[in-house]
């Protein structure tokens, strides 16, 4: 990155105050917050300076303190990132090619590297929990912004509805093949498989309504679920996809209603259990963040 000048870089308190104001970091536990703040690197960009070329994997998050960055990727139209906003987090978590980030006017920013973020995640699980909360909330916001009439589908076609209750091996297999649950930690999935419960619901059953408490989500093993966003918009969860995880992992209140479309066999995963498992398996927690980031990018692509 080219940095041509650095007029009076912010001191430690200015940096801390700035970062603390960001919605992402509000309520961040102090030790994790300080760890993040200490590793942030300040840069000053003149208009036209770039942060990344867009050729590498995104390896930094930019927190804009003042000025404005123009962020572009091949996935969606460019957008302006103003003071108090951040750029690059979703791409970094999804390990996607870097955004092109160019200063549109003199801009001051704090950069946090992917390595430092990974270190933070590993040492402070609360930071992962916050990040999951943030990404899930953003996914909900992205769903709200889908154009009217758009229906988005997740998951794959059924391979047949199992008639008998799922045993431990089948539950583990279902969890292990879901793209939502990174399978590199089978030990974590085995722990989940021991504690999840099976739900079988008929077509047209209402799973939940807006405003209901959201303390769990469902992993669809067979069948399909339709979640209505309103305005003719909906998303469908089929085999391997999860329903209701955004609310369960962020607000704790159902934002969209969910109805069974084709008879469903699903695994019910409690929020607390899921977060406990992630806490004990740092690798899976990090990968799950990557999955949420991928979902955000998919939603962004659907939005056009």
């Amino acid at each position: 990155m080219d940095v041509t000048r650095t007029p009076s870089p912010p001191d430690a308190v200015e940096r801390a105050l700035f970062l603390r104001r960001l919605s992402l970091l509000r309520g961040f536990p102090f030790s994790a917050f300080r760890a993040l703040e200490r590793t942030a690197r300040h840069v000053w960009l003149d208009a036209g300076d770039t942060i990344d070329t867009g050729e590498r994997v995104q390896d930094e998050v930019a927190f804009v303190m003042s000025g404005e960055l123009w962020a572009e990727s091949g996935l969606r139209p460019g957008r302006a990132i103003g003071a108090g906003q951040l750029a690059g987090l979703t791409h970094l978590l999804a390990r996607r090619p870097a955004l092109g980030m160019t200063a549109r006017r003199p801009t001051s920013a704090l950069l946090v590297s992917a390595d430092d973020l990974e270190d933070l995640f590993e040492r402070h699980f609360t930071s992962v929990e916050f990040m999951i909360h943030y990404m899930a909330r953003e996914c909900l916001a992205d769903l709200e912004q889908l154009p009217d009439g758009v229906e988005v589908g997740f998951g794959s076609r059924d391979a047949g509805v199992p008639t008998a209750p799922l045993d431990f091996v089948e539950r583990l297999g279902a969890l292990g093949t879901s793209p939502m649950l990174p399978a590199q930690s089978l030990d974590a999935l085995a722990e989940l498989a021991r504690h999840v419960s099976e739900e079988r619901r008929d077509a047209d059953d209402v799973l939940w309504r807006p405003g209901d408490p959201a303390d769990h989500f469902l992993l669809v093993v067979a069948g399909s679920i339709r979640c209505d966003i309103g305005g003719g918009r909906a998303y469908h969860e089929r085999r391997g996809a999860t329903a209701g995880e955004y609310e369960a992992l962020s607000t704790g209140v159902r934002q969209f209603g969910a109805v069974v479309r084709d008879p469903v066999v699903a695994l019910r995963i409690d929020r607390e259990l899921f977060l406990d498992v992630l806490e004990d398996h740092a690798g899976m927690a990090r990968s799950f963040l990557g999955v949420l980031a991928e979902e955000r990018l998919t939603l962004a692509a659907s939005r056009g």
């Binding site: 308190v13 603390r20 297999g173 498989a193």
Partner: protein, 919 residues
Amino acid sequence: MKRGAGSPRGSWLAYAAGFFRRVEPAEQRDAAGAFLTLFGFMMGHALLETARDALFLARLPASQLPWVYLVIAVVALVLAERQSVLLRRFSSRNELSGWLLFAATGCFGFWLVSGLGQTWVFYAIYVWTGVLATLVVVRFWTHLGTLFTVTQAKRVFTVVGSGSVLGAIAGSAVARGLTDLVPPRHLLLAAAVVLLATSPAPRLLRRAATRQMPIDSGRSPLQAALGIWGDPYMKRIAILIVLAAMTFSLVDYLFKSAADRAIAPPDLASFFATVYLTLNLASLVVQLGVVSWLVRRFGLNRALAFVPALLLLGASGLAAGGGLAFALIMKGVDGSLRHSLFRTGSELLFVAIPIELRMRAKPIIDMLGHRGGQVVASLSLLVLLGLGAGDRLIAVVAVSVAALWLALTIDLRSYYLDVFRGFLDADFAPSKYDLDRTQLANHPGLLGALTSPDAATAIAALELLAETGAAHKLGPEVFAHSDAQVLVKALDSCAEAGMVDAAAIVSLLRRPEEEVRVAAYRAAFAVDLAADAIRPGLEDPSPHVRSLATAWLVSQGESQPPAELEQRIKGLLAGDAPGRWALARALREDQAGALRDLLGPLLDDPHPTVRREAIRSVSRLGDERFSDRLIECLAARSVRREARAALAQMGPAGVARMTEMLRDPAVPHAVRRHLPDAIAGCATMQAARTLVGHLRAERDGMIRFKILQALGRMRRRQHELPLDNAQLRLARDHALRQGFEVMRLRRALENRPRPQHSPRLPSERLLIGLLRDKQDHAVERVFRLLNLETKNDDFYRIYKGLSSPTPEGRASALELLEHLLGTAERIAFLEVVEDLFELDGGTARPARPGSRKALVDALRTLMTGHVESLSALAAACAADLGLSELEETIDAATPHSRDAQIVLGRAKAVFAGEAKGWT
């Protein structure tokens, strides 16, 4: 698997095959080029060496040797100084080819003039041989060092180094044969032919990645040497090489002097040929069978110490009066270990240095070290001989130098490890923004931000101040802020810290914003206010405020009829969450204990904020009757932190109760798994002893892991916390054995005989993946235990480094690990680690097919084990694979859970043809 299992044994050929298989496919071309180059050069050199010694000592006395040592050193230094010019024009491999051609031409020339019988020719041949060896060998190893990481080098260099020994054997064998047929001068012609034939071999090597890097970067040799002197590690390598060169020169002199005295001139050629052949054969045995084992078994530094230690013993014998026999022993150690163990080992010392630095420093250290040592040894010899000293006194000098060499080799270890730590330390650099809590809390910028008109800034400052534990710094001006959110945050921060200005609260109890009034009444619990100030809250339009006011009055034991009090409490219990929260908060003040039982239902409240407050009240009251309830609360994520803190307040009684529950397998897993952290929260010796003591008794891997996490946290908070290292060591051995066993079982499954391209079954994939995870956990446990034992972060860094994206990072981590581990556990742990992280070359070789018996045995072991998920998956796998040998095991298995029972039942049905498998 890369080493050990699968190596064919039982014959020399099989052994040799195993030896050369250390080279991975991607390394074969470089290794072959290096091997051939070294083989050819050393063969030519052995021929030259025999001719040189025989021709020289037949015509000149041994006392002339120091002069030629001196000239060799000076000429080599001058030529090395010019090498950088050649490097700028050629890649190293072309330069090597050029040197070999030049050597062949020189040998041919000397063969022509050696027939003249003039004395200067024999001096010249001696110098020529020495100079050639120095220049070619140094350039060769420098180039090779750029092609491999330290992990690769440890495997490949032993194979390449065997080319040196084999070439020397071939050369001395040919010399031995030729000396019976022709005069020794014709060995020069044979050497010329061999060197000429070898000259194309370096072309097989890849170009060095840093070929543009000039050796001296424009600096003079003196400047470069001073640069090396400034680096503690390189300085020690340089001194080590000087001392080694001095010792080798003294040993060489003592040997040749003894030979000169004992052997008649006509027999010298065949004597030297015989001795060199014998020594080279011994060297081969060492190279093939000993070097790698020594380095693996003892680590690089300890293995390198064998050379000076043995020379020290040999020279001591000679100093004590031994004759040619001791000289031969010393030469034997020199001949068998110098080009095998010492050469390979000292090259590995260089590989530790970052490549750019290495390219600049190695030629200089090599040249100045080897030749400098030779110069010092030669001058010493000249002085000693001039003073009339005999071989015994020279042997005493050799003993002294070897002792210094030995001491330095031992001292070098910590510096060697620091180089690798440096690779891994990049992520651990402190930040210049690292203000501590006190500095942050007192920073004028932060205090100024508290009254910022921008609400977000003021709230951020309030949060930071509260989190630094400095809420007492909040002045009255903060409570005069116009923004309601700032006021709420200020009141909550002060109430949390128990430091609220009563006047500020009173002024806020009547604010128009409901959220401010609620926060003010909440904060009122933390101060001593008159009841009259609170009582108006009973009439407040906000039900939340009314509840809080009621609870406050209850907490103060306001004189009121019992019936009214009871009614108020019932109203709060049946009311909304803020009311129940207020009651939970109010009960904290009930020191008399009359209302304390009400905390029971509040600890079960569905609303986490109420539960949390009830837990805080229990903690403040220190009532041990609630300890079991608090322990149960550990299962709930939303209140776990408060429950942990409350249990920590219970002191020894709390630890004792938690210890009982940790040891009781009947306690729900959801609770037990969080007990280690809760116990560690007490931060006492009792807590540490409990956790360490329970490590080996615990059967659940997850809980063992949680114990280690908890101990790690305790150690970070109290660095000097004493832990029972003997217990930790036993736990480490246990974890290592588990890791090794799991690896063995996984390999049996991975290598099961199956048709080519046939995919693995789903149950099989799951089982293999789960076993890999278990191996990973066992390895992580070993690393955590090592960290606890050693009280430093080295092992944490290594564990991180093993997953480094760069080969250098992984190799550094592995190298550091090898050196920090004790001798006993090194081999087993390294095998488990290398297998898990797929280290040591990076390209996995296709596994050799295993046997059905090994598969059946592995599945049987898993099925009869105590890990529920593994036994269930093993049963499913056995049924899917149709392994009828395991039917009986399935029939006899005792399921540990309902899940396992269902899977075992289905597996039996699959064998009986009554159900489908999991495919």
